[in-house]
């Protein structure tokens, strides 16, 4: 088992631009995440290439997406906890029809729903890097890849995913 920090470094090396020939998995021009409200800390952590999930310090419940209140004990004092950037594919979809001008040349593309067992089984939506026509197995292990959009204003970082058992 690799150390946490090693995973993050490896993700850095395997940035999407090196394997796909395009800068980002999906082209620029899609809506950028508004890094405010209870989600601000998540997006700030993504800029540092860290994966964090909301957690209630009082009852230890994990929670995602971010809320103002713990759905279990109703505490308003929620914090974020760093988690290993690993998960399993819970479901997936392959989009063939462009629903946004920025996506005209980007179809087909893969979206995965990734379950994080180490964070109470919360799930995150992201793109699955690599061949958009690849077979996707539910239950397959994936690792986070932090996709920096440095040139955006303001800059942001998306959390993408890659199969662990497949070379990119």
């Amino acid at each position: 088992m690799r150390q946490h920090r090693d995973d993050v470094n490896r993700s850095d090396q395997d940035c999407p631009s090196e394997h796909s020939g395009r800068r980002y998995y999906l082209p620029a021009g899609l809506p950028a995440p508004a890094a405010d409200g209870p989600a601000a800390e998540f997006w700030a952590a993504a800029r540092r290439h860290e994966l964090v999930v909301q957690r209630c310090p009082r009852c230890r419940t994990w929670q995602w997406g971010p809320e103002h209140i713990c759905h279990h004990c109703h505490s308003f004092d929620l914090t974020y906890e760093r988690v290993s950037p690993r998960g399993t594919v819970y479901s997936w979809e392959r989009s063939w029809y462009s629903v946004h001008p920025a996506l005209q040349q980007a179809v087909p593309y893969l979206t995965v729903l990734v379950e994080l067992p180490q964070a109470g089984g919360v799930r995150m939506v992201g793109n699955l890097l690599g061949d958009p026509l690849q077979m996707v197995g539910i239950g397959a292990e994936v690792e986070a890849v932090f996709e920096d959009h440095h040139d955006a204003d303001p800059p942001f970082t998306l959390v993408q995913w890659r199969m662990l058992d497949q070379p990119l």
Binding site: P31, A35, G37, S91, V99, R123, F156
Partner: protein
């Protein structure tokens, strides 16, 4: 999460009925020559005429899906003497369709109003299209966790729920195809249907392009312009109107535990969101799935129909591959006649109010695809959204 029991003496069973139905001509998206508000007024007048009720007798309105046409304006435009009731079911899509019927029935049963119109107007050509994604530069709130990843349209929002359900139960694409073929087959007998005269074959379905796997083009609802309305009044009054009443045995809305959790985090994910509601519905109506003669099930996407039919107890998840055939869903001898007007896929996408109208026609015996002797007629509104709703209609006030 344990549900409380709805006691019999507090149900709506048989206390109200649908006595009038009205629908404008259905147009392809953007093709309506009339503004949405005008179409709503037209649908209401048609429903009154159908019922043999004077327009001035209307004293309440209910709607859903944040309908843009607000009741005080409608009442003013129609010159109604007094508006006594108006309610909106929150939530998008068609999830509130049967919920709006529930609000109308509850208002009448509780004496808040006498004659309530349930309506929906849609002119997608005049406003934002549902099938297109958000276009803003910044994705705020829950959308920040989906839109930047290219998950922007309703189809993309639901595909992963359906994919997970199909994976869990080894369900093949043929199950979804059966739902699409059924709607198109029934639409060929319905001159009002947008897809009338445009039949669909299994070969054409298989060859059609993907929108987002597991949805082909024909798994997705239409986008249309039009308006529809139904009139709800008391059972006593219903007996004195022109049409055979469709008594409302039950109409309920709701949502399961944290189903609206954002970023695809509903704890129970691969669901149409009817697991909590369906038992309440049957208990309130005093019937079970075996008593239902004909079903209108909202097809935003065929996968939602699949999970809804399972969650309303018509078949088990491991029976879907066998149960989902066009023959089994046919009005001619099928075990569960389904979407007999062509539904949202092939008649018109009126956010499911067309399905409620068709359920009433089945009770009256006037459907283009009439199920012989249909007595108990059911509607499932808006699977996979929050809230969802269902309703059951009957030729008699008690089943």
């Amino acid at each position: 999460m344990k549900g409380t029991c709805v006691t019999t003496d507090r149900t709506l069973r048989g206390r109200t009925a649908v006595v009038g139905i009205g629908q404008t001509r259905y147009y392809k998206r953007g093709a309506s020559p009339d503004p949405e508000f005008k179409m709503v007024l037209e649908a209401i007048l048609l429903a009154c005429r159908d019922a043999g009720i004077g327009v001035e007798e209307i004293d309440g309105f209910t709607s859903f899906s944040n309908d843009r046409n607000d009741p005080p304006r409608i009442a003013a435009a129609l010159g109604l003497p007094e508006l006594r009731h108006s309610t909106m079911v929150w939530g998008g899509g068609g999830g509130g369709g049967s919920g709006a019927v529930a609000n109308a029935a509850a208002a009448v049963a509780a004496g808040l109003a006498e004659t309530v119109v349930v309506f929906r107007g849609l002119a997608q050509g005049q406003f934002r299209r549902y099938g297109q994604g958000v276009r803003t530069g910044r994705a705020a709130g829950a959308e920040a966790f989906t839109a930047p990843y290219g998950v922007l349209s309703p189809a993309q929002g639901f595909a992963m729920r359906v994919r997970r359900f199909m994976w869990q139960h080894d369900i093949t694409q043929n199950a979804l195809r059966a739902v699409a073929l059924t709607s198109y087959a029934h639409a060929q007998r319905n001159p009002r249907a947008v897809m009338y005269g445009r039949p669909l074959t299994a070969v054409a379905y298989d060859a059609s392009r993907w929108i987002v796997e597991p949805f082909h083009l024909y798994d997705c609802c239409l986008e249309n312009d039009g308006a529809a309305a139904v009139i709800v009044t008391s059972a006593e009054r219903a007996r004195r109107t022109r049409q055979k009443p469709a008594y409302i045995l039950a109409a309920l809305q709701g949502s399961g535990y944290r189903q609206a959790a954002t970023a695809h985090n509903a704890p129970d994910y691969a669901t149409s969101n009817f697991k909590a509601l369906a038992p309440r519905l049957y208990a309130a109506a005093g019937v079970g799935p075996a008593d239902v003669d004909v079903l209108q099930c909202y097809e935003n996407f065929t996968g939602g129909v699949m999970m809804s039919i399972v969650e309303h107890g018509f078949c088990r998840p491991d029976e879907v591959n066998e149960f989902f055939t066009p023959e089994n869903f046919s009005f001619e001898g099928g075990n569960l006649p389904l979407n007999t007007s062509g539904g949202n896929l092939a008649e018109c996408y009126m956010h499911g109010l067309g399905l409620i109208i068709e359920a009433v026609r089945q009770v009256r015996g006037t459907s283009c695809c009439q199920v012989p002797g249909a007595k108990v007629s059911m509607v499932v509104s808006g699977p996979m959204v929050q809230p969802v709703s269902s309703s059951i209609y009957c030729a008699e006030p008690t089943p």
